[in-house]
Amino acid sequence: MAFPTLSSPHTARPNETRRVMAEVLLALLPGIAALVWYFGWGVVINIALASAVAVAAEAAVLALRGRPALPAVSDLSTLVTAWLFAVSVPPTLPWWLTLVGIVFAVVVVKHLYGGMGQNPFNPAMAGYVLLLVSYPVQMTAWLPPSVLTEHPLTFSQSLAVIFQGAPPAGLAWDAITQATPLDVMRQKLGLSYTIAEIRQSPLWGDFGGRGWEWVGNWFLLGGVYLLWRRVITWHIPAAMLGALLFAAGVFWLVDPNTHPFPAFHLFTGGTILGAFFIATDPVTACTTPRGQLVYGAAIGLLVYAIRSWGGYPDAVAFSVLLLNLAAPTIDNYTRPRVFGHAGGGQRED
């Protein structure tokens, strides 16, 4: 009988990039399925297009850098970038905007800083923000969820919208697109409606926009899977959602007529996707546990601040990018105590 001798580290499974990225892709599937259910085939087309462009851009820039393309492409991190980008953008986004956003994300944000593991900013969110700042009209034209629309787009109509920029025959753009719930809330609040008045419209469900509000739950399912598989830890999502709820709760208690109730913030926009999939990016987030709490909480507070008083309806991408910038500093001040040394770990070199 042979007893194989194992040497340390005794980890349960090999902790390689490809496995982590495959888990993330798997965890995204329920959320993607929900998006397809509510918003139609455009989501699938966007994901396929973004993936193809991302892999091509990655291979091209690796060839320019004189690096082997296969290991970097097959570690799936590029696909994670592409999928996160594709689920963040509207399902009718013209194809050339996906092209611009993904090429910027992969070539400029990822590879100009040194490639996988070196980028200070989350590539998917940087690509998203570039488009949002440059093309606000296209980036805020969402489809209404399928429970509301009278004209759900078929697969071929989605293709025509994305690749030819043509709305289906007989329909104007205004008939098939709609502002997001956060956008509506923001505009109506700006016109001095109260929350109760705004929510009388049939657009609204129990918590957020009708239809919209349930997409986050499916992303939450994927997030719980990531926690269970220990791809991410609880610190960043808990701190981010906690801080967002806390800030929303304080202002709601002060004046419930002009500040949406706290759960509204959880059920709208990219909150859940951001908390579990985007803020937790292992490359650009904080790495120390205390640092992750600070990082997550700061993102949550910024999301509330930008949603309430900023110039754009949703804020997850901006908040994550801003905190990406602060992550190295936060890490430096939150080092855990090194065993055998007194006090916090200060830099000694």
């Binding site: 611009v100 570039l130 700042v133 440059s134 093309y135 606000p136």
Partner: protein
């Protein structure tokens, strides 16, 4: 001033020690005003004019100024010429003056001008100082126009739009447009676009330098490295 290598002074100013791309000086106007090629050109010409006048003046008074008080003296000289240029632009290029606005007055604190006064004009004669001012000024102007053109082209699909404000009506032939249907990336016009564009220009210059060194058979001095911003 026998033996002054004017060719080297000009080459340094235009390329090897380009204040915008190598020394990274004067970034405030460079980043803020280059939303179009025309703005960049106007800013570049104004800066060059001030630089020429201040370099010549400071070279003339360099033996009279005590080192302890040289910086205030230089600033007063530069500020006087900036005031002159600003009033002239206000009088003759009113529309451009409206666009460039506060940045004309801010030429006073442009590091390039004080830097050349300190590093060159206070140590050299009048003629080399004037040549240096022209080389440095044209080098900066080239960077301003290139960055402005880049941002204008990406951002709104035109090149030298409104050039007639600066150069007169004949310049309308310069005004190019990609045409209707072009969706410009607004980010290029916004401040982030300036930083991203400047980064690409510096990279381009370094690539050209590296190609040039590789072609040279004789082992020459290494290409100028970007210095820290002042």
């Amino acid at each position: 001033m026998a033996g002054t290598d004017y060719g080297k002074i000009v080459r340094d100013g235009l390329w090897n020690n380009n204040q915008a791309l190598v020394a990274l000086l004067g970034l405030c106007p460079l980043l803020a005003t280059t939303t179009s090629a025309t703005n960049g050109l106007g800013m570049g010409i104004a800066t060059t004019a001030v630089l020429l006048l201040s370099n010549v003046t400071i070279s003339l008074i360099r033996r009279a100024v005590r080192p302890e008080v040289r910086i205030p003296v230089y600033v007063v000289v530069i500020a006087s010429f900036v005031t002159v240029v600003e009033l002239l632009m206000h009088a003759y290029f009113f529309d451009l003056h409206k666009v460039l606005g506060i940045f004309i007055a801010l030429i006073v604190v442009n590091c390039t001008i004080l830097g050349r006064a300190e590093a060159f004009a206070s140590k050299n004669g009048v003629l080399p100082s004037a040549v240096d001012a022209l080389g440095i000024g044209l080098g900066s102007t080239a960077a301003l126009v290139t960055l402005g053109g880049l941002r204008e082209l990406v951002g709104q699909g035109t090149l030298f739009a409104q050039a007639h404000l600066l150069l007169g009506d004949w310049a309308r032939v310069l005004e190019l447009g990609v045409g209707e249907g072009f969706h410009g990336a607004l980010v290029a016009i916004l401040p982030p676009g300036a930083f991203i564009g400047l980064g690409f220009l510096i990279a381009l210059k370094n690539v050209i330098d590296r190609r040039a060194t590789r072609k040279t058979v004789v082992i020459a001095a290494p290409p100028a490295q970007p210095a820290k911003a002042g």
